[in-house]
Symmetry: C2
Subunit: 203 residues, 2 copies
C-alpha cells in the first residue's frame, strides 16, 4: 500500500491525495503537522532531509518527495499528463509556475492567517504575499478568461496543481471575485468526478 505523509489542510499534500484518488490508487494517510514541528523529527528527516511534506512511501519502501514530481509520477500514462512533446511541456510550465510564483505567496498568506493565526505580526510579509499572489492570479486569469483549462489538453495535473491553493485562497484574504475566469475554472474542476475539495478551518 502507498503511504502519504501529509497535513490534511495543505494544498501541496492535497495534490498527492487527489492524483492518487483520480488514478484509482488506494493509500494510507499519516497526518504530519508541519506547523508543530512534525517535519523536524529524526524519523521524518530520515525520509526527507529537506524537512517538507508531502512525502510518499511506495510499496517497496522507495520515498518520493516534491508535490510536482509526485503529480508527474502518478499521472504518467494517464490523461492527466500528456505524452512527451510540447503538450507535456505546457503542463510542466504551470507546475513550475505554481511552485515559484504562486504557492510562496498564496499558500503562505493562508498559512499565516488561517493556521498560524499570526496576521498582525506579519504585516510586511503579508503585503508582499498579496501583491505577488495577485500577480500570479492575474497570469492565470489571462488564460482562464478564454479557456476552460490551463493547457489545451483538457484537465491535467497543471489544473490540479494550481487548484490546490487557489480554491482556498480566500482563507489568505484574496478576494476571488476579482478573477471571474478563475472562479469559473474552480467550479469546473470541483465538478469533475472524484474531486474532493479541502475542508479548511474557515469552511
Amino acid at each position: 500500500m502507498i503511504t502519504v505523509h501529509g497535513f490534511a489542510a495543505s494544498g501541496n499534500c492535497w495534490k498527492v491525495a487527489q492524483i492518487l484518488r483520480s488514478t484509482g490508487r488506494a493509500f494510507d494517510w499519516v497526518e504530519v503537522d508541519s506547523n508543530a514541528g512534525g517535519t523536524r523529527t529524526a524519523e521524518f528527516l530520515a525520509m526527507n532531509p529537506n524537512a517538507k511534506i508531502p512525502v510518499v512511501v511506495l510499496d517497496d519502501g522507495q520515498v518520493i518527495t516534491e508535490s510536482g514530481a509526485i503529480l508527474c509520477h502518478f499521472a504518467e500514462g494517464t490523461d492527466w499528463l500528456p505524452a512527451a512533446g510540447l503538450a507535456r511541456t505546457r503542463v510542466l510550465e504551470w507546475l513550475f509556475f505554481e511552485q515559484y510564483s504562486h504557492e510562496p505567496y498564496i499558500a503562505v498568506a493562508r498559512n499565516v492567517i488561517a493556521y498560524q493565526k499570526a496576521k498582525a505580526a506579519n504585516a510586511e510579509r503579508l503585503a508582499q504575499c498579496w501583491t505577488r499572489g495577485a500577480a500570479a492570479l492575474d497570469v492565470m486569469e489571462r488564460r482562464l478568461a478564454t479557456h476552460p483549462w490551463l493547457t489545451d489538453s483538457g484537465a491535467t495535473i497543471a489544473d490540479l496543481a494550481l487548484f490546490a491553493y487557489t480554491h482556498v485562497a480566500e482563507e489568505g484574504a484574496f478576494d476571488l471575485t476579482r478573477w471571474p475566469g478563475i472562479q469559473a475554472w474552480i467550479a469546473r474542476l470541483a465538478a469533475l468526478p472524484g474531486i474532493v475539495i479541502i475542508e479548511g478551518p474557515t469552511k
Copy 2:
C-alpha cells in the same frame, strides 16, 4: 532557429543555453536585463505575462517559459532525462527542489550582492537567504558526499539545474568549502565536454 531571451549572468538562463549546447541545438540569444526592467516591456509581457526570463521562442513561434520546463523539453529523448518511471521522477524531484528550496535563497543573495550591489539595504533578507540557502546546500551535500551525481542516472538535467546557481554561490557570500561533496561535484560537472560556466562580475 531557436531564440533565447535571457540575461547572461542568470543561472536560470544558463540552464537553457547549456541544455541547448549539450543537445547540439543552435540558438540565437537576445540579452534582457531583468534588473533594469527588461521583462516589464509590453513586448516582453506579450511573450511571458509572468515577466520572467528565460523565454524560448521555437522555430514556429511557440513560446516556452520556466527553466525547469525548458530543461525537460530539450532533454526529452536524451541521456540528460531518463525515460518515464522512478528514474525520471528522481530528476523531477531535484528540479522542483531547486526552484522552491534553493534558487529563491542562493540566486537572490547573489543578485542582491553582486548585481544590485545592495547588501547594506537588505541585511534581514540576506540573513534569511544564507540560512535557507545553507540548508539547501546541506541537502545536496548529503547526497553528493557519497555519490557522483544527484541521481543514479549519471549526469542529468537535475545536475544542470542545481549547478546553475551553486557554481556561482560564492558571489552570494556562500563559502563552498563547507560543502566538499558539492565542490567535487562542481569540478566533475564543469569537466564534462561542452559545459560552459557562468562568467560572473567577480570572476
